[in-house]
């Protein structure tokens, strides 16, 4: 028993010592670092962080968690927060961070020049990094793509028992409904939500990939999913996922109207960023041609930098018209959207 205790003490001691040394230097402020709180966990991001470290000699420290938790963390940390940059996978959360006074506006000619106005905060509190569209994946063998038209049309009776979509817990669904509230008004959006619940093939469960698989399995005929999941499935290591993704067609809704609903993954500089200069450099780097190409080709997201082409696969799907709604609106109506989901019984 004594040996065990000794061993444990040794491990404990070395762990603490190690840690102190590391945090000690990184919180010094003298060393060149940028502390990133991010909701993105893609392998591509790690590649980019490495590249940034190599070209600028600025060390990237990362905390990975969901955006909600990171926002909560930043707000409790307050003025002592070590965070320099907050990265989320949707515009709604960035707007929320801005509203809670956790971000600061930054002046950057590069960012203002490259990023389209609707893809960033009007007051420069945050900037989009990559775009993803929420589209309709349909069973090629059972659905004629000419039957598909708009998000609004999915509420009609012909789709009864045929729609697959995940839970309203998911931020992409919340943003989609928020966009419908802004575009069509609250009452219409409420009616739409109720009809979609009626038209669902099953009670919402699983993730976006599961919806596509269920289309192929015949549980429903169309699924509402994000583009990059289809891209990832087509390039999956699992042959069954590839098969499933190949069996569905991609349809961008509302092409004759306002365009397909898009969302961005984006970044903002923290209000109390101890390394503000580095933070701006970091975000500018992520928008650069070099970085945007990595984003585009590894996770099948659409780049926000217009000189960078999307991955070949996405180019095959063709260009599409995107809803140019200012994305900060999505954050504004997020809570309303959740309330409507609950009242309509969308799990």
């Amino acid at each position: 028993m004594k040996k065990v205790i000794f061993l444990i003490a040794l491990v404990a001691f070395s762990a603490c010592k190690n840690d102190n040394k590391k945090t000690g230097t990184s919180s010094d402020g003298e060393e060149n670092v940028v502390n990133v709180y991010t909701h993105r966990h893609y392998a591509a991001d790690q590649v980019l962080f490495k590249q940034f470290e190599e070209t600028t000699r600025i060390k990237v420290n990362v905390i990975n968690a969901s955006a909600d938790e990171l926002i909560q963390k930043m707000s409790i940390e307050g003025a002592q927060s070590p965070a320099d940059v907050l990265i989320t996978v949707d515009a709604g959360r960035l707007t929320r961070a801005k509203d809670q006074n956790l971000l600061q506006p930054i002046e950057s000619d590069i960012l203002n020049r490259i990023i389209a106005p609707h893809l960033k905060d009007p007051e420069n509190y945050w900037f989009g990094l990559t775009k993803r569209a929420r589209i309709i994946a349909y069973a090629k063998n059972r659905v004629d793509s000419s039957d598909l038209s708009t998000y609004e049309d999915l509420a009609s009776d012909k789709w009864k028992g045929r729609i697959l979509i995940r839970s309203s817990e998911n931020i992409y669904n919340q943003s989609l409904l928020a966009s419908l509230i802004v575009n069509n008004g609250e009452d219409e959006a409420r009616k739409w939500t109720e009809s979609i619940v009626e038209n669902m093939a099953r009670s919402p469960k699983g993730n976006d990939r599961d919806q596509v698989k269920a289309v192929v399995g015949g549980e429903g005929d169309i699924a509402i999913v994000n583009t990059y999941y289809i891209g990832n499935m087509l390039n999956s290591e699992n042959p069954e996922e590839v098969k499933a993704a190949e069996a569905v067609g991609i349809f961008f809704p509302n092409q004759n109207g306002r365009g397909a609903h898009i969302n961005v993954s984006g970044a903002g500089v923290a209000r109390y960023a101890p390394n503000k200069e580095n933070a701006i450099k970091f975000i500018e780097f992520l928008i650069s041609k070099q970085a945007q190409e990595v984003f585009a080709n590894s996770n099948y997201e659409y780049p926000v930098n217009p000189i960078v082409k999307p991955a070949p696969l996405l180019q095959q799907w063709g260009e599409f018209k995107e809803d140019s709604l200012t994305l900060s609106k999505l954050g504004e109506f997020n809570k309303k959207a959740v309330l409507i989901f609950d009242e309509a019984g969308w799990k």
């Binding site: 945090t23 969901s66 002592q80 817990e169 698989k213 999956s236 699992n238 069954e240 799990k347």
Partner: protein, 553 residues
Amino acid sequence: MKQAGSKNIFSFKYRLQRLKRDSNKWAILTLLILFLIVLPIVSIGVKLFSGPGETWSHIVDNLLLDYIGNSLFLIFACGAIVLLFGVSTAWLVARFEFPLRKQMEWLLILPLAIPGYIVAYAYAGIFDYGGTLQLILKAAGLPFVRFDIMNKSGLAFVLGISLFPYVYVSSRAFFLNQANNLMEASEMLGVGPVKTFFKLMLPMARPAIIAGLILVLMEVLNDYGAAKYFGVNTFTTGIFRSWFSLEEPETAVYLSALLIVIVFSLILLEKFQRRKLRFNSNRDNNMRLNRKQLSSKMQFVILLVVLLPVLLGFLLPVAQLIYWATLTYENVFNLYFLTISVQSFGIALLTAFVSVIIAVILIFFSKWSRLGFIKNIAKLGILGYAIPGAVVAIGIMIPTIFIDRWLIDIMDYLFNVDMGLILTGTLVALIYAYVVRFLAVAYNPIESTALKVSNAIPDSSNMLGVGNLRTFFKIEFPLIRTGIASAFILVFVDVLKELPLTLILKPFHVNTLAVKAYEYASDEMVMEAAIPSLFIIVTVMLPVIFLNRLLIK
């Protein structure tokens, strides 16, 4: 007019005097530790006084019934599953000889090694369209029958099968140490084995079984990942929804409070039921255990019965993970995982050690203190387990940031230096949070073994002039060793797979395997999550096998 000499025992003054008389150092230390443990929970609970938030009525109207219904369903369904598998396997392993028994002893603990949400993904992967089952059926030329596991019952199954080892570990400890003499007495009196089990062993083992069961139920109520993936609304998904999607921490706190009420009513209900029965049968518990030798046919049947939960809770999900790992091996695997394994291992070990010490302190100090109420409130220390990890994390941050700010101000005032955050974002805060969260896991098994040590031994030791501490190390510690070993294993395993709390509180540079697995899974890269999950399982296996030896010696 007061008469001299007589005291009104209800007077405040008398009570205060008595309090002063009975407050010994043990009482004060217990209160101090309890204060630290309860502080984060209280700092969240304070929000209760700021009202329920404007969406509370929205929740009550639209969601609450669903939350209560589903959570109760899970309590009963999972409860039934873990009792069935946990108690039966513990009994068979403890009392009967059969082939592979030694291996089964530790294999039965291993379902705990896989994070619940990973088991959920694995099962969904097996029954999926294009899933393993379909592939197997196709290869065998059989038609595919889709079995939908992603619903309420499926969730109860998945959680039950991955959590039953809590009950197995705690009831086995009882059967190993306690049951022998009673068993023999019962059999000598001509009572059959079945009747002995149901009439004698089961009621006797009840405190141990319940200790495990309460852990399971708290864990079930706490699950977020699996419930979310299966689309089942529970209290915990509701807490996350109101905290984050509706942006109302106040509402989330109300839901947490309701959850705590449910958990505590369960504990109280059990206490109330049990109060009539008081077991103190520690005599002869060092008697050599002799397992029954049955016919080889019966031995084979027992092996199958014991194998079933191992198969469902461990071998099947692990097989699915290994299959996924072979598909994604090239993209995911790198040697960095070994570094992360070592880090996770160290953190888990340290936390287990600290938790066990604190649990022992709470249990024994409150026993040594002469204040009655301390014994009752010591139980408050286990509250953290009923609260979702993310909420505990936030609760930890409130006081640690407060202390940090205070220190910063003092240092600034006295020495004019800005030293930044000391506790927040360090290993100290992380381990503090783990201890708050997992103290119940250490407390329950130790308490259930400590209850069986009759007071006569330490009392006589005290009377002979030996102090409490020395008595503890010389007498009680060896007697509750098995409880401590179980506590250690369980906390260790829990920390290794803990997620939401780690995400929020982990320092830069520190990474755990569970975080790594989550990073993939949260991007719907479930297959890629298989390799870090397998690393967790391997990391857990070594200490489980080692400590299991300690347990059954």
